[in-house]
């Protein structure tokens, strides 16, 4: 999977930044816009050190006007540049939803393929640190639902870099959703796993290619982002109970690698889909439906593990109750046996 002989390990944020810096050095058309991305280096370290190298002109602090700057990214992209715009928390999408849903996502199609929108929208996602209902969502399903956006969700540093290179070079709009808990920020300690060896050179990871993070025979666990690490931890526990779990990291939601999932379910017969987004009308339903369409006969049991349909509550016991934990995954996988 990773760059073999490299002994250097990076946090996810540093891997992401190294890809952005590389592309900015190679291509003057790449620039970054967001709130607190210049001097602060991104609230979640997404642009650490970039202003020092590229200056305020290319690492732009912008007014708190998401409609204007995300829309400006759409326009600059259509004019031939390769802007990256950052939504500090994905939860703030609402104030700029038209630019995302109706412009960024649709202009290519409405123009009959004559207009391209080569931009990246980055957004911090996820909970687990009690930031409550307006700062903890992932909203994977909300964005994957609208046709016209490619959507990637890295789970490790290695993926963060390769997916970022691909996102910037891609001629279509890409939404790059990074989980705060995985970034390796000092004040929000990451679990073991996202810090990985990362090749120094540039490399691209294709969209629509899921990664089997652990091989198994008895149950397929499909997930993404933070929950890849929780699923891997669950798989360890399951192994000691004699259950062999395969863990699939989707890496991109659009396109979705149905083939890898179906192949796995044909082997294991059991599907557990784990998502940090709301349960209804989301990733768990979509993945399950795809497997049902393609391989209904192979499917013995299905379990969905997701946030029940309530906003993310603030208080610790409440947040813990709604965000799927390792134990919830173990229990769901065990129920399929």
């Amino acid at each position: 999977m990773s760059g073999a002989e490299s002994t250097r390990e990076l946090t996810m944020s540093r891997a992401m930044v190294s890809a952005i810096a590389h592309e900015m050095r190679e291509n003057d058309d790449v620039f970054y816009m967001g709130e607190d991305v210049a001097d602060y280096g991104g609230i979640f370290d997404s642009t650490q050190g970039l202003r020092e190298e590229f200056g305020y002109d290319r690492i732009m602090d912008v007014p708190i006007s998401e409609t204007a700057y995300i829309g400006a990214a759409v326009g600059a992209a259509q004019a031939g540049m390769r802007p990256i715009a950052e939504l500090m928390f994905v939860d703030f999408f609402g104030v700029a939803m038209d630019q995302i849903y109706n412009q960024m996502a649709k202009n290519t199609y409405m123009s009959g393929g004559n207009v391209s929108v080569p931009m990246v929208l980055t957004a911090a996602v996820g909970g687990t640190y009690n930031d409550a209902a307006q700062h903890s969502q992932t909203l994977y399903g909300t964005f994957a639902h609208i046709p016209g956006l490619k959507i990637v969700v890295p789970s490790t540093a290695y993926e963060a870099k390769g997916l970022m290179h691909n996102a910037i070079r891609d001629d279509d709009p890409v939404l790059y959703m990074f989980h705060k808990r995985l970034m390796g920020i000092g004040w929000m300690p990451a679990p073991d796993g996202p810090k990985t060896p990362v090749p120094e050179t540039d490399y691209t990871i294709p969209f629509g290619r899921a990664d089997v993070k652990r091989d198994g025979e008895d149950v397929t666990i499909v997930t993404l982002g933070l929950h890849v690490h929780r699923a891997l931890e669950a798989a360890e526990t399951l192994a000691s109970d004699g259950i062999s779990a395969e863990v699939i990291d989707l890496r991109s939601l659009v396109p979705l690698d149905t083939e890898t999932i179906v192949e796995s379910v044909e082997k294991t017969g059991n599907l557990v889909v784990v998502d940090e987004d709301y349960r209804s009308y989301g990733v768990t339903g979509e993945v399950t439906a795809r497997v049902a369409e393609e391989a209904l006969d192979a499917l013995e049991r299905v379990e969905r593990v997701a946030v029940p349909d309530v906003p993310i509550p603030y208080s610790r016991p409440l947040e813990k109750e709604v965000i799927p934990g390792t134990e919830d995954i173990v229990n769901a996988a065990t129920r399929t046996q």
Binding site: T7, R8, E9, T11, D45, G186, P189
Partner: protein, 90 residues
Amino acid sequence: MTEHNERVAVQLDEWPDDVESDEGVVVNWFVSEGATITESESLCEVQIEKVSLDVYAPASGTLTEIRCGEDDEFERGETLAWVTPTPSED
């Protein structure tokens, strides 16, 4: 004549002056014990209060010992690791 190689301490160069605490925490190591490292590459990241800082390799060579692992606390001036420099050629 090649001198015998003395190991070199890995330390935070400068304690930030806008913090009150005399203690920090190592939050990330980017290389592991035994790794070959190049002078001035970032070896680890430490946090003092909420200020994050990188600690750089004092010399090229081998990271022979990590004394403060991830999540370990350290005090101002404490040695975080030891580097054994590559013998020079002349």
